[in-house]
Amino acid sequence: MTTMDLTRFSELLDAYGADPRRWPAAERSAAQDLLAGCAQALELQRKAALLDEALDQYLPAPPAPALRQKLLGAVPLPRPGWRDAMTDFWRDLGGWRLAGPAFAASLALGALLPSWLDETAVDLPDEDLIAAVQLVDELPEWNP
């Protein structure tokens, strides 16, 4: 356990005052031990406390309520997270009442379109189609 002499104790009082809560944490215990057994240390502390008491009488007025209100008014609005953003997007689309039927209609159209296209497709003979694409010379129009 470290001990403290009266000189160091006096320096502590000169710098930090009489209240042990303001003393450096590393030296507080040793200072209190000295204080417990030394009348001279107690007297030094009593004198230091007089300046502390004087200091403590200077209490600035608290800030006006208007300042608090002003600062609360300047609090930034909450930023929407991605869930909120998706909710807003869905609402902008009209919600379930509009977007739901539109989604169902697009699904139905997607399912029906291929069969409708099959019925309207033009049948070309496979060989002719390939020959036309490849510009095969055997075709009669290329051999006048």
């Binding site: 320096e11 000169d14 710098a15 300046l51 004087a54 209490l59 609090v75």
Partner: protein, 188 residues
Amino acid sequence: MNSSDDPDLPAIERIRNGDAGGCRVLLERHLDRLHALATRLLDSSADADEVCQDAFMRAWQQAPKWQAGKARFSTWLHQVVLNLSRDRLRARRASLPLDAIAEMADEDTPEQAHGRADRAQSVRNGLRQLPERQREALVLCHFQSLSNIEAAALLELSVDALESLLARARKGLRAALDGQGLAPGAAT
């Protein structure tokens, strides 16, 4: 400076999640204390209002980006108020002659000044007369109850240098009070 047990972290987390209620918590917790700090440093409640406004605007911006582990949020707020107060004092010195600064510091009306206790007014006068660094050290350690390590870090000093500043500040203040017939006693 241990920040792992920073009591402001839950409020900061709320702000990060877009909950403005976190700002209200920080305001309720720190406004009075920071306003008192600025008032004692600047000797002006009106200037302290403006410093606190600037400080909390910065806090709202900083909170979502705050990284726990470096320092306590309240220590950072103290640093902001300290820096803003220094800026104001510098601006005062640059724009006004010394006589005008002394007059401006006495911003209370005669009625308000009359209503204050003599000793409180004397302490206020004594603080005003201290060199800026001594006043900062005394206000941070005595009135704001920061530890010697926190105060030394804010003032960018060693703990020994802080202790020396504090001792000179208290000695100067005691002398100022003695001069006004309000001797608070001597430590040694």
